[in-house]
Each structure stands twice: as C-alpha cells, then as structure tokens.
C-alpha cells in the first residue's frame, strides 16, 4: 500500500489532550516524571517547530531544550485555558524568536502571532534543513518507512495508515475495519512498534 499525500494529520499526534491535562496536574503536584512524559511525547514536534527558525539541528535542539525548561518553570501558572500543546508550541516559538534576536539575526516570521504556534508545527514555508545530508536522510527515512509499511500484515498496515495518514479516530477505524476499537488500538500499537524496529538502525546512524 502506498502512502497517501495527506501527511501531517495533526489531530493524530495531539490527541489525548485530557491525558496531557492529567500529566500537567501531576507536574503541578511536584511530579517531575510526569513532565518527562510530556517531553517524550512532544519532543519531536517542538524540535521540528524550532528547527524551522534556526540554522542547524544542534541549535534547534538547544533552543527546544530551553523551551521545555521554560515551559516547566511556567507550568505552575498553566490554567488549562488552552490545550497544553498549543501553550507549549507558543513558548517554543517565542523562545526561538528570542534566540534569533539574541543572536542578532532576523526573525524569520515577523508577523507570526504566537497564537498561531500550533499551525507552525505543520506549516510549510518556514526554514527547512535542506542540506544534502538532510535531504538524503529524509529520503532514506521515507524509503525505510515505505519498506516497513509494506512488510506489515495487511490489518496492521490498514489500521496505521488510516490513523497516521488519513487522521481517522479509533472509532472511525473500527467502523471501517469492522472490528472492536480495542483491536484497532492493538493493531496500531503493534504497527508502530514494528516500524520503530525497522527505523532504529537509521535513527541510530543519524544520532552518531
């Protein structure tokens, strides 16, 4: 099954807002481990978002790390008026912009409203890492993902495709696949685990 072009179904990644809220409340009770879960959930989104403002991957991770620390410090005042991830993205965008100002560099998007931070995460037109190495890595990644998807059993491939590329809810996938929603959860979990195994060598290589 080939992948569709409908990438970046943000709803899939940011679903579970109530779980975010629960984790936030645990952080607010002094449990740093709950914040670690939020970091592990949103690290890629935030690094990607910040990466669209700065020059190098290393710089992006430094700024993203600063953004997470700022978020942690500010979390005691988070009141849930907006979704946690919107609030976090806003901090990340502001941190990136402040970083550019501190570096004496022009802010890439001068008119960007921080309220639109959520949209930045999936927006095109911001700075991209279009170095030859970056392009090659992305191409390799895409090939690995295609390969991993094609090797999945059909029921797993269908479930994860409907979820990640079409943005369907678990209930909707259950209807499409005519199976219990618990089965859908299990299939998506297993599909992602299988893909993670295939991608691990590439990601380790990228890390080194």
């Amino acid at each position: 099954m080939s992948k569709t072009s409908g990438r970046g179904t943000s709803g899939a990644l940011e679903s579970g807002a109530s779980s975010d809220l629960l984790l936030v409340q645990r952080v607010q009770k002094g449990e740093k481990g709950a914040f670690d879960l939020l970091v592990r959930k949103y690290q890629h989104k935030v690094v990607a978002l910040v990466g669209r403002f700065v020059r190098t991957p290393e710089e992006a991770e430094d700024v993203a790390q600063e953004a997470f620390v700022k978020a942690y410090r500010a979390l005691k005042n988070f009141r849930g008026d907006s979704a946690f991830y919107t609030w976090l993205y806003r901090i990340a965008v502001n941190t990136a912009k402040n970083h550019l100002v501190a570096q004496g560099r022009q802010v890439a998007i001068v008119d960007a409203e921080t309220e639109d931070a959520e949209q930045f995460a999936g927006a095109d037109g911001l700075r991209e890492y279009d170095t030859p190495e970056g392009v090659l890595l992305s191409k390799e990644l895409a090939e690995h993902i295609d390969g991993a998807l094609s090797e999945l059993p059909e029921d797993l491939r269908t479930a994860v495709t409907l979820r990640e590329f079409e943005g369907l809810s678990y209930d909707e996938i259950a209807q499409v696949m005519e199976c219990p929603v618990g089965t859908v959860r299990s299939r998506i979990f297993r599909a992602r685990e299988a893909i993670a195994k295939v991608l691990a060598p590439l990601l380790d290589q990228e890390q080194s």
Binding site: L13, S18, R40, G122, K139, R185
Partner: protein, 220 residues
C-alpha cells in the same frame, strides 16, 4: 508487555480513560522504563510517519534525557491552588455523566456538605450566594437518593479539604477556594485520599452518609 497493557496505553494516549484509570496509567508510565520507552516510541513513529518529508527535523535519541537532567536541577512545582479551569471530557465520562444525571434528574436540591475548614479562599466563601442557600434542601423525593460522586485523583485540593456544594441536579460541583465548577461528568471530590464520595440524600435528613471508600469492583 501484554495485550491488555498495550490497549490501556493506547487508550491513555488518546485520553479515553477515566481519571482514576488514567492516573494509574500515568503512575505506571512514570515508574516503568519499558512502558515509558513504548510511550516514546509510539509518538516518535507517529511523528516520523507524518513528517518524513525532506527538511523536517526530529529530536535525537538523547534529547529527552538531556531535558530531564536539566529539569532535575529545577525545583519541583507545587501549584498553590487548582489551576485548571476546565477539563476535556472523554466520551466515557460524558456517558457516565449522562447516566448519573438521569439518576438524579428528579432531585431538586442545593446542598452543602460540611467538610472541615476552608484552607484558602475563605473570603470568597463568605461572599458566595451559594452558601447562603445551604439549607435549601428542598427535595421532593419520598425516599433517599444515592449520589455517586466519582473520585478524581488530579484535582488539587488540600487534605483538610474545602467545603463542597452540590448544586441542583448535580450538574456541577462548586469547590470554594478553587473558583472552579466541574461538570457533572467529573462530579468528584478527592481530598488527597482516594475514594468515592458516597452520599445519600433524604428530604428529611438532607445529605448524609458522607463517606469515602474505594470500590474494588469499580463504580456502580
């Protein structure tokens, strides 16, 4: 990891668990490395599947650990009061709330459950019209009604506990000092110790049998 745990993790990720179950899963995630790795993996793969186009960056493998190391040097947060003004409601709780609302819909009451001493927001308390209506337990029921107030582990109240007002039809709970209404689906009171707040309302005696307990077999 067994199938049940996988399903529970996915349900937690989707926000499809009730507060008590979700808190248990959060505690497990914080304490079990394998579960935490699975959590991270799920989000990483999901991100990569959706963002594998050229130029997109993602966090390197040690990023979260580096953030954690820096957070470890930060003081712990102890929020001074409940900070969340509204909570997303999962379908499960909406359904549960609807059932609860049906059960109590015929009851008309505005009552007060006397609970210890307010620890904060006493000035607000004194000014609240709700408290002046405390005695208006004008129920019309001929027999006692049982209210099941579900526990919430994530509501930040003091151990000594503020008073708690049940409003008409248990549509909402007002917890003084926290400036917060909770929707019926989260009609809960959880003064640190876990427990279902089981309250019996009788027109003659008002609200009584106020007690805490954890039903081993789940909630009625």
């Amino acid at each position: 990891m067994n199938e049940q745990t996988k399903k529970e993790l996915m349900a937690f990720m989707e926000g499809e668990m009730g507060p008590l179950q979700a808190n248990r899963m959060a505690a497990r995630l914080q304490g079990e490395q394998g579960l935490r790795d699975a959590w991270e993996n799920q989000y990483r793969v999901s991100f990569l599947l959706q963002n594998d186009r050229a130029g997109t960056q993602w966090a390197s493998a040690g990023f979260a650990d580096r953030v954690a190391a820096q957070i470890a040097e930060e003081p712990s947060i102890l929020a001074p009061r409940a900070t969340v003004s509204r909570s997303p409601i999962s379908p499960f709780w909406m359904k549960a709330g609807s059932v609860a609302a049906v059960l109590v819909v015929s009851v008309t009451l505005v009552g007060l459950l006397p609970r210890n001493t307010l620890t904060e927001g006493q000035g607000d308390h004194a000014n609240l019209a709700h408290y002046q209506r405390t005695a208006l337990l004008s129920g019309t029921q001929s027999s006692p009604e049982v209210f099941h107030l579900r526990p919430v582990a994530d509501f930040n109240v003091q151990a000594s506990g503020p008073d708690l007002v049940i409003q008409r039809d248990i549509k909402r709970l007002w917890i003084p000092g926290h400036s917060n209404y909770l929707p019926a689906s989260e009609s809960v009171y959880y003064p640190n110790a876990a427990g279902l707040q089981n309250t019996v309302y009788s027109p003659a005696t008002g609200i009584s049998n106020f007690s805490n307990y954890n039903p081993a077999g789940g909630y009625p």
